[in-house]
């Protein structure tokens, strides 16, 4: 299909070719751009980072991140730039202050409490009960592991 025809065809639809992103930087700085991109939220997607998303808004924001990296801004400054415009919402991990501590410490606290509970249960001395273990294996091979497996299968 010749280019003229393609353009004419596309001009009929409300959709036309989009603009490509800016050129990549050298590997070291581009790695920084991508890392920052993974921390920032794409405004028109559902929960994706601007590095992962192929949408136009994500592309625009990645280009801006690239520019800011070239300008010599630090990671913190670049994050603040986006927070100043889109709010804390723009960061995919909530910054650790105030109410946000709940989401950072909550899981650890639960693990700790649960761990204490489990430890108490485990270390409680067993009551003298009629042990429900099965009969001894008929042919002991001298290997307690093998015997246990056999006993398990026979139960």
């Amino acid at each position: 299909m010749t280019s003229l025809l393609l353009i004419a065809l596309l001009a009929q639809t409300p959709h036309a070719p989009q603009q490509a992103g800016s050129a990549l930087l050298d590997p070291a700085r581009e790695a920084r751009v991508q890392a920052l991109g993974k921390q920032l939220r794409c405004p028109m997607c559902q929960g994706l980072s601007i590095a992962d998303s192929g949408s136009s808004a994500a592309r625009a924001q990645m280009d801006r991140v690239r520019e800011l990296v070239v300008e010599g801004k630090s990671d913190e400054e670049i994050r603040s730039y986006f927070v100043a415009r889109y709010g804390e919402w723009a960061l995919l991990e909530p910054p650790a202050h105030g109410f946000n501590w709940l989401v950072w410490l909550g899981p650890g606290l639960l693990l700790l409490l649960g761990g204490l509970f489990v430890a108490r249960m485990v270390l409680r001395p067993a009551p003298p009960s009629p042990a429900p273990s099965g009969p001894p294996a008929p042919s002991s091979s001298g290997d307690p592991y093998l015997d246990a497996v056999r006993a398990e299968l026979r139960k």
Partner: protein, 184 residues
């Protein structure tokens, strides 16, 4: 055992209650809405060029008059739908406010091909790599920003602005005094 069980269940009930409270508060709000932090803040300066003449335009030049900025793209269907409303309004309110369109994530060629047939009554500006759009906190197209004569962003309208009365109302608000922080 009994007391421990009751304690655990009460604790669970409380946590679930808090959760339900949060859910109930969530009804009615739009989860796709993106926060806009620049409302009431000074609009960042920009230096763009006109799509038709290539002449430079900066925000500083426009100080003293209210400005309406409309972000659009050639691949955006709703932008095409809202354009006639904006064009009419721009003509009608020529003395009251300056209207400018800003091209978002699009090449100048595409933008020209899109705009020319619609004969816009206000200038369109080229924003390379949408740097200025990101500076303004744009989240997509179409979006329309209302900036007062002192260069403060009063509000932004997300989505196609199809109702001319709605547009006029916001324009009038631009000339009025800024609402105070409380009761907003």
């Amino acid at each position: 055992m009994n007391r421990r069980l009751s304690l655990a269940l009460v604790g669970l009930a409380v946590l679930v209650g808090v959760l339900f409270f949060a859910f109930a508060r969530g009804f009615g709000r739009d989860p796709h809405e993106v926060p806009f932090m620049l409302k009431g803040k000074p609009a960042p300066d920009f230096a763009l060029t006109r799509l038709d003449t290539g002449e430079p335009v900066t925000l500083a030049q426009l100080r003293g008059e209210p400005v309406v900025l409309n972000f659009w793209a050639s691949w955006c269907g709703p932008c095409k739908l809202e354009h006639p409303t904006l064009s009419r309004a721009a003509r009608r309110h020529q003395g009251d406010a300056r209207f400018y369109g800003v091209v978002f994530e699009d090449t100048p060629e595409n933008a020209r091909a899109f705009a020319q047939p619609m004969d816009p009554s206000f200038p369109q500006l080229v924003d390379p790599h949408s740097r200025m759009a990101v500076d303004y906190g744009v989240t997509g197209v179409p979006e329309t920003y209302f900036i007062d004569a002192q260069g403060v962003i009063r509000e932004k309208y997300v989505g196609p602005l199809l109702d001319e009365a709605e547009l006029t109302r916001r324009l009038r608000a631009l000339s009025g005094p800024r609402a105070s922080g409380a009761g907003q």
